[in-house]
């Protein structure tokens, strides 16, 4: 190997190298400015929210606000807990229902399903993603809620009624309805991201398992899912983000009652729903401030869950790093 080839090549083409360098730098600056802008906008939103929320903070204890269950704007009693609870419970129901279904659908579409059935199912998922949330709300109101009241809730109470979450009066409107609507809405997100994640699993891994005498399902469990796990977690996180912030469909079916109940059948309320419902009619600065504070709480929850999920993903992906090269 000629020892001078490196320096020789570098010396032969100085001008293009410098130009490329300039382009790279301009590009880098442009990207930095765009990225910075996003951060600034997010910061401004937070500041504005804080400014609007401030009147509610006069003489108010943050801890009281977060832990009180009373919400009575007329008497200026503001407790965030029922909304936090409703948001977390509906989102949890949504993830618990949507995650297994989505992963199953994604596996069906990319690994196991009969090839002829795949396109229609893929199309149905796309359609689900495109439906406006108010339509989901209407469907929930006219189809899901009556079905829950008449069929699913009596069934759950009859079979699993010893669990507190399945006790109490069966109204139809409630956490379960909200959670199921959310599940339907986040399912396309989780499923389509999971499909993309499954596509990144190297065929060599799948073949390695199959060549050992694994069945298709065993190959999925042994090679595909472990490799895809961090990506599926990311997909779940995206779905969770949508579930936490979804307003319209949930408010139409959850019953909009600022209460906390152990039963999934009971009516509740979520953070986005109460903000949307009360903002227009809010009278005093304090009421508006309390609603803006709920917005800050929602913001905080989203950030916290994001951070937690990120830590989880990096812990889980430790095993697959390097294999992606």
């Amino acid at each position: 190997m000629p020892p001078t080839s490196d320096t020789g090549a570098a010396r032969a083409t100085p001008a293009p190298a410098r130009f490329a360098n300039l382009g790279d730098r301009a590009w880098g600056w442009g990207i930095s400015i765009l990225g910075g802008t996003i951060l600034v906008v997010a910061g401004l939103v937070l500041l504005e929210l804080g400014r609007v929320a401030r009147p509610a903070w006069e003489g108010m204890n943050v801890l009281r606000f977060l832990t009180s269950t009373d919400w009575d704007p007329v008497q200026e009693k503001f407790g965030a807990l029922p909304f936090v609870y409703g948001t977390l419970v509906t989102s949890a129901v949504a993830i618990l229902v949507a995650l297994p279904v989505s992963v199953g659908l994604a596996l069906f579409l990319s690994e196991m399903g009969p090839r002829r059935l795949r396109p229609p199912v893929a199309y149905a998922i796309e359609v689900l993603a495109a439906i406006p949330s108010v339509i989901y709300g209407l469907w929930g109101l006219f189809v899901l809620v009556p079905w829950l009241r008449g069929t699913l809730e009596p069934f759950l109470q009859g079979t699993l009624g010893f669990l507190p979450i399945f006790r109490g009066p069966m109204i139809g409107h409630g956490y379960l309805a909200g959670g199921l609507i959310l599940a339907l809405m986040i399912l396309p997100t989780i499923a389509s991201v999971t499909i993309e994640v499954l596509k990144t699993v190297p065929a060599a891994l799948r073949e390695g398992a199959l060549a050992l005498g694994a069945t298709r399902w065993e190959a999925i469990r042994m090679a595909v899912l472990p490799y895809a796990r961090p990506g599926i977690l990311g997909a779940t996180l995206l779905g969770l983000g949508r579930a936490l912030g979804e307003t319209m469909a949930v408010t139409m079916v959850i019953g909009n009652s600022p209460a906390i109940s152990a039963s999934l059948f009971a009516p509740g309320y979520t953070l986005p729903a109460v903000i949307a419902n009360e903002f227009a009619e809010a009278t005093g600065d304090v009421h508006i401030g309390a609603l803006a504070s709920l917005g800050l709480v929602l913001f905080g929850i989203t950030l916290l869950l994001n951070a937690a999920a990120r830590i989880l993903i990096s812990a889980v992906s430790r095993g697959t790093r390097g294999a992606r090269a």
């Binding site: 891994l205 073949e207 060549a211 050992l212 472990p226 697959t320 390097g322 294999a323």
Partner: protein, 287 residues
């Protein structure tokens, strides 16, 4: 590498086994191949393979004796991998791919509808071109992966050690069996994959260019390993490296554009081939 000089001496046909197959069951030998003295491990008759409309293998006939190494050589795209994949029915995983003809292992049909490919693949193991250990598993779990699939009871420690020794990897990994398989070098990963394939005790080991992604030292280790494995396993190896075929194999099959042009003892293929195309290829006139 002294080992490679010894190889010529080893390159005699495998010893006669007492259980000589009855004359009637013995399959017709392929042209250019001497009649096998013992029952062949694999018999390939009139094998044709297609990818959709692409006729990738034309009427391949070949016999693989037990405990021997058969090398498949030929220019890229000539059908070597396709041939190999048919032998454990991995071709069925590719949409649109199909194979016709007769494939037999120990005289028993292998392509039939009543043969479970999953069971077959436990008898006919495979090692791929690029090392493909399971990245989320430890070294130990990689070796034991096939045992778990077979629901072999026990903690597998003994089998893991035995197969890692067979794969000439034990001394390098015995102190870190719990480490990730990705912490190994490429050559070590490939030997781990060989161990993984050996752990389920296959009868035949298929290797598709197992050393093409490795450096010369790792390649030499794999070649030495093939020599040792030949004592117990029947090996079919694809390589586009003719020196490698010469070093490791007992018989060599030359493929060209989907045809099996010639098959015979490795020495003959490299020194005195019957076909012009074979001679041109092994003397480097094309390919």
């Amino acid at each position: 590498m002294n080992v490679h000089q010894e190889i010529a001496a080893v390159k005699s046909p495998p010893p006669l086994s007492p259980e000589v197959a009855s004359e009637s069951r013995r399959p017709r030998p392929a042209p250019g191949q001497e009649a096998p003295a013992i029952q062949p491990k694999l018999t390939v008759e009139h094998l044709n393979a297609w990818y959709g409309q692409n006729h990738a293998l034309h009427d391949v006939n070949l016999v693989v004796p037990p405990r021997s190494v058969t090398a498949a050589i030929g220019p890229s795209g000539c059908g070597k991998s396709t041939f190999l994949r048919c032998l454990n029915r991995m071709h069925e995983l590719i949409p649109g791919a199909r194979a016709e003809g007769t494939l037999r292992i120990d005289g028993k049909d292998l392509l039939g509808r009543d043969v479970d490919p999953v069971t077959l693949r436990r008898r006919v193991g495979m090692v791929f071109q690029r090392p493909n250990p399971f990245p989320t598993m430890s070294i130990r779990d990689n070796v034991a992966a096939g045992l778990k699939l077979n629901r072999v009871p026990g903690d597998h420690a003994e089998i893991v050690e035995r197969t890692l020794r067979q794969a000439a990897l034990w001394d390098e990994v015995k102190d870190r069996l719990g480490a990730s398989a990705l912490s190994l070098s490429g050559g070590q990963q490939q030997r781990l994959c060989i161990a993984r394939a050996l752990a389920v005790q296959p009868e035949v080991l298929l290797m598709d260019e197992p050393a093409s992604a490795l450096d010369p030292i790792a390649t030499a280790k794999i070649e030495d390993l093939i020599h040792e494995l030949k004592e117990r396993y029947t090996i079919v190896i694809v390589t586009h490296n003719m020196q490698q075929a010469g070093r490791v194999s007992d018989q060599t099959a030359f493929f060209y554009m989907g045809d099996l042009v010639e098959v015979g003892p490795t020495e003959k293929i490299f020194t005195n081939p019957s076909e012009k195309r074979t001679e041109d290829y092994v003397t480097g006139k094309f390919g």
